[in-house]
Structures are given as structure tokens and as C-alpha cells.
Symmetry: C2
Subunit: 351 residues, 2 copies
């Protein structure tokens, strides 16, 4: 649409002192919007494609691509280990990685509420920029809308992403087979509990930090090494449990996991117990499962443990024949229990 | 992220009777979300890529691409000539066309407010599907978030799009030159006034219908015919005035237009006069300007007039040397006035 990413040679910089807030005029396609974009958003994202000032970006790409989108509505905006900006970059980068793709280009759609602090906006776009640099992706096109006070919750962010497919075979539930092994990239439950604690103001003895991180490097290393990855899934909304059940149901196979093998940090487990939450259902933002053939599991795990975001990768279970999508978990006393998704979500607005 | 576009063989259809509303659980990544997606969203969008149930879509594309994003926050959702769903498809399709690209694939990010009518949601996703079919694009990946009551305004939609670049030369303000001619694709001001009238409940004598329409066919025909298009811009937020000023400022050239040549329908002009609005600043959703070399203007106009969305295409002005980005308009009495953008927007939340 007209007016986005636009550069006006005579636009004066918008002062961003602590009292400045977003006004409806900042979304109107006129001078005020140009100043906002030129003083806050474009300098933060700083990409030659954004500087071209057109209705979209022009990219050169060959061959098969992955394309994904996500909106981010987390509250609070800032939590230990990240903020909505970090999340908006890493979440979409990770979705591309889960498709077996090398993340390359992201778009950014901002919906801002009238009255939002411009200092906060600057912080968040700064986080987006830092996360994009860390993940090696470019923010190449964007859009900013403003809605009247009371009609949003400060800010919502959409990021869509394009990546170059590197997996030589299709990645997804349809590719898994009985005998395949499930690798989990690290301990679970930290993102959900970090956001929960920040939202509710719980003062746990040890601060829980979100696991929010880009995982593409680790995943791409599997492909580079020739590991025949069958399925990848990040453990966001619905946590480990939803991911396993979705995959098993779609594949019409069964998955059994070993409860003792699933790592949960002590302070996260304590917080979950205190609040009556099951860490299997708590959202993560830097954890994923990789399902690989049994004869390649050692190689895959060894590769993943070389990357900081998956240094704690462990084997947690196996795929079996079965047509009902059953997921079971064998407890430390040997008792098997069924794992299912919840109806909704224990913790809304976690991402 | 986990849980989007997911298909569960055992999910029961969600009944959508008039009293049903969106609940927080519909965004939680569990069973309720699966039912919403499987009963309302996936059937409406109906694409094999969505059925693959993974974190993103896999696309085969070669060569240079255009990539764009837009969020839609229009109020009211439904207005004469379209709704937020039609707008969300056509707006992004048109942005791709303005890049000189053939629109191919769209993503859809929905942010729904708890309490939204599911019947309304069904209507809107139905409109999106119809508009996508009409524009020849596929909706290949999506995401749904739900926020608590009072934290959004019913629904916001983001669409991002990928198209294949067909323009052999760069399209944009940097490509225009003195002597180029400005073609406008049809009468202006209808979208903004249609939304305004619907929002405020004005009962104008003649109902004003939005011009919301996909314009890619008409634009692509210019390239097919070998017209050397220098710049394209759709006249959305900020209207014709903002588009001209942005282009002139970016190009550091001057543009002069002939007021009498700019078509405005009588009932739109009457409504603008009644409300004290300048049609040059009112948003359109199916109108664009094309800036072409003077020796190709007849050919370009003849092509555009063959398409319904640009059947009223007319020459309205010309590019001149000048480094201040001046845009002037010569009135019917021969008096020149300067055209500038407004500070904000006369009509907020028009798209």
C-alpha cells in the first residue's frame, strides 16, 4: 500500500522522549507516518530493500521455497530472556527451519494502539533488528497500522518469512515411519513459565528465562551432514504434548516417550508444580523435536549438541505402528499414561 | 508454530450457529483450535499446501520475486462493495502488482478477539476465498491468534504475498524521468467515502460503493505488451495526493496534474463536499497511477481501458525537472495550487 517504508528527504526526525506516544495520525499515510517510519522503524531495520520505498521488496531466489506467517500477541511485551520483538523474529525463523529451509527474508506488519509509548516501540524494533542479525535474516518489507485507543493491546506484530528449502526430502508427519526416533532439543517449559511469571508478577526464587532462540543453524547442520530428517516441529503453543499428538494423528502412527528422558529444569518444574501446570503442555520458543531414522540418531544428536540452542539434545522416544495417533508416556515407575492435547491452552497469549 | 493449519482426523466440526463466538481456547493450540481451523478456516481456504499441516508452505518458484505485507484494521468490517476479507486479499495482490509482479501466493494471519461472532468470521474467510479465486492467488499458509475481550477490535487480518517479477526493468520512483506521463486508472475517492458512510451511518442519496478490486491483470497486460512502465503506485492511505508527493519527493522531480482530468463520481464529490473532505486525499483500494514514457502513453491507456478495474483510465499529468518534489495541480480556471500530503489521515482505519 502507499506510504509504507517511505522516505521523505525533508522529514524531520521524530523526537522520542519519554512522554511521546503513538497517535492515530502515525497510521494515516501522511507526514506524521513518514516521520515515524523514518525516525524509528527504518533506521532500526536498516535494509536496502526498505530504502527502495516501494510497495514491496524485490528478491532473487531460485528453486523451492518455504513461506510462513505468524502474529505475535504476547503479554507482557518484555519478559526474562526476550520480548515480543525477539519472539516475532525467532518464531518465524524457527518455523522456516522446521520446514527444512534456510531462513532468508522476513516481512514485518505492526499494529500499534494509539497511546503506545514510542520509547517502548523503539526498544521492540531494536530487539527485532538484533534478533534478525543474530539469525542471519533480512527484514525487507513492512507495514504499520494504528488503531484507536482501547482497540488493541499496545502492539501486535506479524512476521512472514521466506526461506530456501535445503531438505532433499519432504519434512513432515507424512514422512515418519515405525522405528524412527524422537530427539528433543533441550529442556522444556521455560518460555511459558517465564512469560507467566512476568505477567502475574510471581517472584520465584530463581528467575526463569525464556528459551526463545533461533534454531535454524542447528537444524541446517543436520541437512548439511546428510541426516535424513523425517519431521521437525517446534514446541510452541500446546507444548511438547500437542506437537507429539498432532504428528502422531496426522501420520496415523503411535509415539511412545520415556518421561524420565524429557529434561525439565528444577526451577521450572518447581514453578509448574506450584501452579498445577504440566510442563508437557507449556509453550517453548527455542525447543523442537526432530524425528529421524534409528540408524542416524547418534549422528543427529551429536550434531545438535554442538549448537548452543540445542546443546541439551536428548533421545526421548520412538515411533510405532498404530492408526489412532496414540501418544503414550512411560513414567519412571514403568507405568504408561496417555498424552493428549488440552482443549485450549493453560496460558493464553504466550506468543 | 505448532498447531496451525492442523488437521485432526477425529476433530468434530464446530457448530456455527448464530450465538457461537470465539473463545480464548480457540487460540490455544489444543483441540478447540483444531476444531476452529478444521471447520471454519481450512474448508474456506481449501488449499493442498494448507492440508500438508506443517509450519509453512513449500513453493516452487524461479527467478526474481516480489514480497510484501499488509495488516488490515478497517472498521466497519463490511461496507458497500466489500469487506475486510476482500480488502485483505485485493490490497496485497495490488501491492504485488505495483511491484511489477504476478501475484501467486498469500499468507493469512488472523488476530481474533474473544467474543467475535463465528458466523461473521465465516463470512469474512469466505470473502477472502472468493477474492483469492478472483485474483488467481493461492492462500498457502496461515496462523490464528486469539486475544481476550477488549484487547482487539473484533478481528485484524495480515496478508503477506509473494509474486513473480515480470517487469524487465525496475519499477519505482527512481525510474521516472522528466517528460513521463501520469495515467490514473479510474475515478477516485470511492473506497474511503464508502467506508466513512458505512461507519457513520450516513444515508447519502446514492450508495457509494468501494472501488476495492484486484488490478493485477490490467497491470500485467502492460508488461506483456512491452510498455516500459517506470512507476506504479496504488492510491490507498493518503490517496492520490500522498502517492504523487511521495513519488515526486523520492525521485526529486516535480509532477504537475490537471485537476479537470481527475475523475471523481458526482455522488462521491457531493459527499466529500458535504463533509469538507478533499477527494485527492481520500483512500482508494482499486485505483493506481502508472507513470510511463510519453511515447507509450496511448498504448498504455488503451490496454488499461480494456480491463474493468481500469476501464476509466485517463492521463492526468506529467513529470518535470525539479529537485524539491513539488506536486502542483492546475485548476479549471488555470490557477496552479500546490498539492501536499496531510499530516495524518482525514479518515482513520480505512484499510
Amino acid at each position: 500500500m502507499t506510504s509504507k517504508n517511505s522516505h521523505f528527504p525533508n522529514a524531520c526526525p521524530l523526537p522520542a522522549t519519554s512522554g511521546d506516544t503513538i497517535q492515530l495520525a502515525h497510521g494515516g499515510g501522511g507526514r506524521a507516518m513518514a516521520r515515524l517510519i523514518n525516525s524509528i522503524i527504518r533506521p532500526a531495520f536498516d535494509d536496502t530493500e526498505l530504502d527502495r520505498q516501494h510497495d514491496g521488496a524485490t528478491l532473487i531466489l531460485d528453486g523451492p521455497l518455504a513461506f510462513t506467517t505468524d502474529s505475535y500477541v504476547v503479554q507482557p511485551f518484555v519478559f526474562p530472556g526476550g520480548d515480543i520483538g525477539t519472539l516475532a523474529i525467532n518464531g518465524t525463523v524457527n518455523d522456516l527451519a522446521m520446514c527444512g529451509a534456510h531462513p532468508l527474508y522476513l516481512s514485518v506488519g505492526l499494529i500499534l494502539e494509539e497511546g503506545l509509548s514510542i520509547e517502548l516501540l523503539q526498544r521492540i524494533v531494536g530487539s527485532m533488528r538484533a534478533a534478525a542479525t543474530a539469525a542471519g535474516v533480512r527484514l525487507v518489507t513492512g507495514d504499520t497500522k494504528v488503531v484507536d485507543r482501547g482497540k488493541a493491546d499496545g502492539m501486535f506484530i506479524n512476521t512472514s518469512g521466506i526461506g530456501r528449502l535445503v531438505s532433499p526430502t519432504p519434512i513432515g508427519p507424512a514422512s515418519i515411519a515405525p522405528g524412527d526416533v524422537v530427539i528433543l532439543s533441550g529442556d522444556i517449559g521455560r518460555h511459558g513459565m517465564a512469560v507467566m511469571a512476568a505477567r502475574e508478577g510471581f517472584g520465584f526464587e530463581t528467575v526463569i528465562e525464556s528459551d526463545c532462540a533461533p534454531v535454524a543453524d542447528a537444524v541446517l547442520a543436520l541437512f548439511e551432514a546428510g541426516v535424513e530428517v523425517h519431521c521437525l516441529r517446534d514446541l510452541t503453543r500446546g507444548g511438547l504434548a500437542s506437537a507429539l499428538v498432532e504428528i502422531a494423528e496426522t501420520a496415523r502412527l503411535a509415539i511412545s516417550i520415556d518421561e524420565a528422558a524429557v529434561p525439565v529444569a528444577d526451577h521450572v518444574l518447581a514453578a509448574c508444580e506450584l501452579l498445577g501446570l504440566d510442563p508437557f503442555h507449556v509453550a517453548n520458543e527455542g525447543r523442537f523435536i526432530a524425528i529421524v531414522p534409528a540408524d542416524q540418531v547418534e549422528q543427529a544428536r551429536d550434531i545438535l549438541t554442538q549448537y548452543s540452542s540445542s546443546s541439551g539434545a536428548v533421545v526421548i522416544g520412538r515411533v510405532y505402528a498404530g492408526n489412532g495417533g496414540e501418544v503414550t508416556c512411560r513414567g519412571i515407575l514403568g507405568v504408561e499414561r496417555a498424552i493428549d492435547m488440552l482443549s485450549g491452552e493453560q496460558l493464553p497469549r504466550i506468543c
